[in-house]
Symmetry: C2
Subunit: 426 residues, 2 copies
Amino acid sequence: MLSAALRDGTAARRCVFELFARRLPAGRRYGVVAGTGRLLDALARFRFDDDDLRALRGDIDPATIDFLRDFRFTGDIDGYPEGELYFPDSPVLAVRGSFAECVLLETLALSIYNHDSAIASAAARMVSAAGGRTLIEMGSRRTHERSAVAAARAAYLAGFAATSNLEAGRSFGVPTTGTSAHAFTMLYAGPDGPNEPAAFAAQVAALGTDTTLLVDTYDVSTGIANAVAAGGPRLGAIRIDSGDLGVLARQAREQLDALGATGTRIVLSGDLDEYSIAALRAEPVDGYGVGTSVVTGSGSPAAGMVYKLVEVDGLPVTKRSSNKVSHGGAKRAVRLARESGTVTEELLYPAGAPPRVDGPARELMTPLVRDGVVVADPDLAAARRRVADALLTLPWEGLKLSHGEPAIATRIIAPGHNEESWPTHR
Amino acid sequence: MLSAALRDGTAARRCVFELFARRLPAGRRYGVVAGTGRLLDALARFRFDDDDLRALRGDIDPATIDFLRDFRFTGDIDGYPEGELYFPDSPVLAVRGSFAECVLLETLALSIYNHDSAIASAAARMVSAAGGRTLIEMGSRRTHERSAVAAARAAYLAGFAATSNLEAGRSFGVPTTGTSAHAFTMLYAGPDGPNEPAAFAAQVAALGTDTTLLVDTYDVSTGIANAVAAGGPRLGAIRIDSGDLGVLARQAREQLDALGATGTRIVLSGDLDEYSIAALRAEPVDGYGVGTSVVTGSGSPAAGMVYKLVEVDGLPVTKRSSNKVSHGGAKRAVRLARESGTVTEELLYPAGAPPRVDGPARELMTPLVRDGVVVADPDLAAARRRVADALLTLPWEGLKLSHGEPAIATRIIAPGHNEESWPTHR
């Protein structure tokens, strides 16, 4: 595309591309925008060096190679702030510039947003389901080794407390924590069989009593007794990773209390997802370790976002193929709410033609890049607060875990139809 | 774990860890081992430099930092060759060394195998479903930007013909190809509306007539007429990305033939997976572009592999928690077959105690690393042939796309029970 468009000059046409999801993953009621910080960071490094150009030489003509040698993005990007919620058709990102520079960003932007938003969207549901209890992301080993780092960031953004991925601590400042594995306890087995007390003693000797001992390698109630014997009544936490977690949590709480370890926390893990976390609401649990489900988006590993050309040289363009109607023209978005703050509708309107709205409304798109320079502060802590705040504005059914419709409807005002509007798309 | 075990000396105990899947993803009948080449490559680079150690200083005690400074893996690894099939409990990898060095590899090995095997396993089903037609991996934008490169490799290993990910071409020698997007056609729209002929003419001018023109931006039959007008009857291919693909493919074939473009291929894309590919078997299709479903493992984005300690200082160790019985002791594996070559059973036996078997049988584990040195040739082309060959050995029901049991059962001979065996685990 780039090669052909450079050849005849159309590559210079001024374009607007928008990044959005046509729909939410099956039954989901909202999505969480994530990836903004990573995209802005990647944008600064998105260059083609001599090695890159040499590798491309077989695939791409010399004029395109020359273009890539000098490439840097010089356009503008607006977008929803990271951590904001999104709904079907929300223009999460709008990229303006020459066709050449906008089209080069397509795969980078989509990869980052599709991955990070899928994980943040799943993680936010788990955070809701946990009802204030601590969630630890422990899924590094269930996803690609580099995705794992981004996944830890996205989960933290959505409200997880910490990750076991130390690189996410280094790269993004995500708090890190960890527990031991069954292998550690089994390591202390000898010719006479298992020796859980020795393993627990070793862990306490190395990490102190404010550690988490994994008690289900052999027998949970013996494990709890061994744990309190090793760590004393001020032992930090125990972890149970298998069995009927609700029953075991109740029994563990009773046993810990009877042993005087009333402050020792109970952490559960083992193929947890938002549904099993919700099912444990009534049990005496202090925290959850979540692996596979969060790093793979709990059934929806890609957010389904697309990157579509909506405007060329100031004129709206649209595709007309079946089932995939795009809404041409650069758009902006405003989220309407009741006086109580509960949101009611996502209203998309042609950029430059803001509609009259009654009641509280919030503009959603903010400047991220101007003339190729990042102008937004990709602050992960702020994004994390934004998710928490935004979830409070959803109508109550928006937080239901069951499959359903998006929490609010999206209405799209077509270009030149400022009074009239397209049918509500829900 | 490492810190505690270094402190009391148990970190030096000789251990065997095995990497395996307790079960296949829901309803799958086989898995494809992928990631071996990437793991062996990563192993050589798995060191901790001064920056790494500085970053870890807050989390880890000085003795452990010192250990990591000098770390390199010095043990042995055996495993199924890349591209081999696996079934529940197949010991895909066996890692032998000190506890310290083996436990450090856990997340690296699992991340690579869980990701790459999930994708290769899904991709192999698509290759079967395509019945010899060309498959192109086009999913980079639907997964993390680095996963995308590994995903392209895994899909190629499983029989895909090519990828649109140029970095996978550079890193792994995967053949690369691509088509244009709707944005390219829409770019040529002007004040008078769409101008598909101009877009097609530009693409043909840049890439010649052996290119693939995307014909469904506006109207498919007009698009095909425009495509043949631009590329002539020797146009390479057309691509259709939306609508009722089966109907459109038939109409397209008739129209192309009527225009004299009898050699112009028809490529379909648009949320294809193994099921929709199979449903198109009867239609005149030449190739498929597959995105989201292949890079996300078609519903199973992680292969569910675990990394478990099975032996310490020569003695088998096992966990005894509910529902997660592990089979202690280092194992080896042999795949039994009929004289026809059709496989019948996966037999796991204690290392060093090969069972008597009747009929054709193939040892599955091969040396990958000895004393820390890679001894296997991670040859992607060989792995690709291995997948194709192995699929031919499955009983016919093993290639069914419908949910079912593993194609063959796994039988595990427990240590010290060379005559007797554990119940068949299927």
